[in-house]
């Protein structure tokens, strides 16, 4: 068991190294003078030469690669040509809001998709199933930014039930510790601030969850249909188990195992798709940062953000692997 976990961790480290290498060669593949890119468009020739020297761009590619990895290990992702801040500290500011948003999106995703998929499987071929599948198709087909705008307009603006932008109302912010508005509020014992932070997250998370929960609900539905037909479910029924026990105890856990892998990957995809709602709800997250970095040709900032998104993707999948070890005894067998 421990050996398996260690092996998974080593594999994760190896994958991160792979992503870092890919990012390095992406920099190399960008046409033009890298020193000019690093120094920014408005740089003077002296500044360009400074950048060339600082980044060791006059060395061979192999040496540059080594230096690049070394800089990465020290958390140095370069300097933004827009904010003039180290990109790592920029990312430390924009990552928490997105993580918070994606975490709540994941919770909503699971809370809606699992019951919906189970319900659909139990009503297989009947009107309840058809209705559930209609919701899945609509959820999967509706554009996220449109849904975000509609929720913002209807629930936020017209009904005034929830805030329409930002992370906290004025005066409810908590001192910065982790950068996560919810966690910081809890750390400061600021209950009103916590509720306020959650209220700010609900609409964006709801909008972002739609396409993801449609996929998860469909996956749950089909694996649940299979699980309910399984011999071990018939055996449980023959032992005298009630329908409720059969659904929750004998079929659902088995149906969740394959879905777990999907959830792990979705976490990474959500990080990428967060931009769509961050823009609508004015959340200063990774998506917004990446978007402005692209439009202002802040190449190192773009690559830094890509690297961090890759890292989150890998860590999410690592977490899923560990949960799977715990849930499915068959995966614990070292092959």
């Amino acid at each position: 068991m421990l050996r398996l976990i260690v092996r998974r961790l080593l594999l994760a480290v190896l994958t991160i190294w792979g992503v870092a290498t890919a990012v390095f060669f992406m920099i190399k593949a960008i046409p033009g003078d890298e020193a000019r890119i690093a120094a920014g468009r408005t740089a003077t020739p002296e500044q360009i030469e400074q950048a060339r020297e600082r980044l060791g761009l006059d060395h061979s590619v192999v040496v540059q690669y080594g230096e690049y990895l070394q800089r990465l290990l020290h958390g140095d992702l370069g300097t933004s040509v827009v904010t003039f801040q180290p990109i790592s500290s920029d990312l430390a500011t924009v990552l928490p809001p997105t993580l918070e948003l994606v975490a709540l999106t994941m919770v909503i995703n699971v809370l809606i998709a699992v019951p919906l998929g189970v319900f659909s499987a139990l009503r297989l071929g009947r009107s309840g199933d058809t209705a559930s599948r209609l919701i899945m198709v609509l959820g999967g087909g509706v554009p996220v930014f449109w849904l975000a705008l509609m929720l913002q307009y209807l629930i936020g603006s017209r009904l005034g039930w929830l805030p329409i932008s930002g992370r906290n109302d004025y005066g409810l912010e908590s001192p910065h510790v982790t950068g996560l508005a919810t966690v910081d509020a809890l750390l400061a014992g600021n209950v009103a601030g916590f509720t306020d932070a959650i209220r700010h997250l609900v609409l964006p998370a709801l909008a972002l969850s739609a396409p993801f929960l449609a996929v998860v609900a469909r996956a749950i539905r089909s694996s649940m249909v299979g699980a309910l037909k399984a011999d071990h479910v018939a055996f449980a029924r023959a032992k005298g188990a009630s329908n409720r026990r059969i659904i929750w105890r004998h079929a659902l856990p088995n149906a969740l195992v394959p879905t777990l892998t999907l959830l792990g990957m979705q976490f990474g995809w959500m990080m990428g798709a967060a931009l769509l709602v961050e823009a609508v709800f004015s959340i200063p997250g990774v998506g917004t940062y990446l978007n402005s970095a692209v439009t202002s040709q802040d190449t190192y900032a773009v690559l830094g953000a890509v690297l961090v998104l890759g890292l989150v993707f890998i860590l999410a999948n690592l977490l899923v692997d560990l949960v799977q070890f715990w849930l499915d005894p068959r995966t614990r067998v070292a092959s």
Binding site: A230, D231, H232, A234, F235, A236, R237, A238, K239, G240, A241, S242, N243, R245, H250, P253, N254, V257, L327, D328, P329, R330, V333
Partner: protein, 319 residues
Amino acid sequence: MTSVLRIHGLTVDVGGLRIVDGLDLDLRKGERVALVGESGSGKSMTARALLRLDPSVSVGGSVLFQGKELIGLPEKEVRKVRGSQIAMVFQDPTTALNPLQRIGEQVAEPLRLRGVGRRSAMKQAAEMLDRLGVPRAAERLGAYPHEFSGGMKQRVMLAAALITRPKVLIADEPTTALDVRVQEQVLTLIEQLAAEEGIAVLLITHDLGIVAGFADRVAVMYAGRKVEENSVDAFFAGPSHPYGKGLLASVPRVDRALTERLDTVPGVPAKPSARPAGCAFHPRCAAAIDRCRTDAPVLLTIGTGQAACHLIEEGALRC
């Protein structure tokens, strides 16, 4: 002897198709009855219908368990019978055990469902597994199915079925997924426990080879109907129905050279969706007469048993 299970005119319909059509069968206390037939003959559906395992399947007729009618009983009442009075084991122990649950939990489940405390249920599970020859049973309660061999898994399933001391055990092809040596062990175990506890066993199988050594009585099903029933001795001495004869002739024998071609029943089994008129077996029957093509034969008493064949009336079949 009194019947524990009396099946009368049992019908099973799946999606508008009649899979089992008017089956009669009696199971007396401690008796071992084999229900045999080819794939698709309705024997497995009969087994599942007795416990009403498939909600989408409509079951008709009458099933009396110790004088109590099970057909038409509300689901909640049927649940009290399942597992505690009538237990069932399935064909493939690999798929019939939940891969995510511990062995002990799965064996003890029928007791836990009936309010037995966890410790007591686990203790009884260990005892039952031990009786069924699972080595170091108490230590292995925490193991998962994938850590067991096929034969051991079948013992685990039997332990879960028998832990409540049921009156009837329905065994649906319990040895089909096992290798021959393990088949023998598992059947011997079922036989022993059934004898000790006075459990009636309904063995569903397509393998006549295991019937001879195990059952007291044989019923043969074809296309959803019982075509023959007799004591094992009488059946193996000479079946009355041409289908029974065909089945018996197609069992490989040690006293014949391997170079000889094995006898087979010609043709393919009748499908429920295209059941031939008259006797469903007539297209494959070498002895079929005109009447067989139009009239469905009824079960007639012949010798110690029964058979449904026009040739009996015609005097063409001997007892």
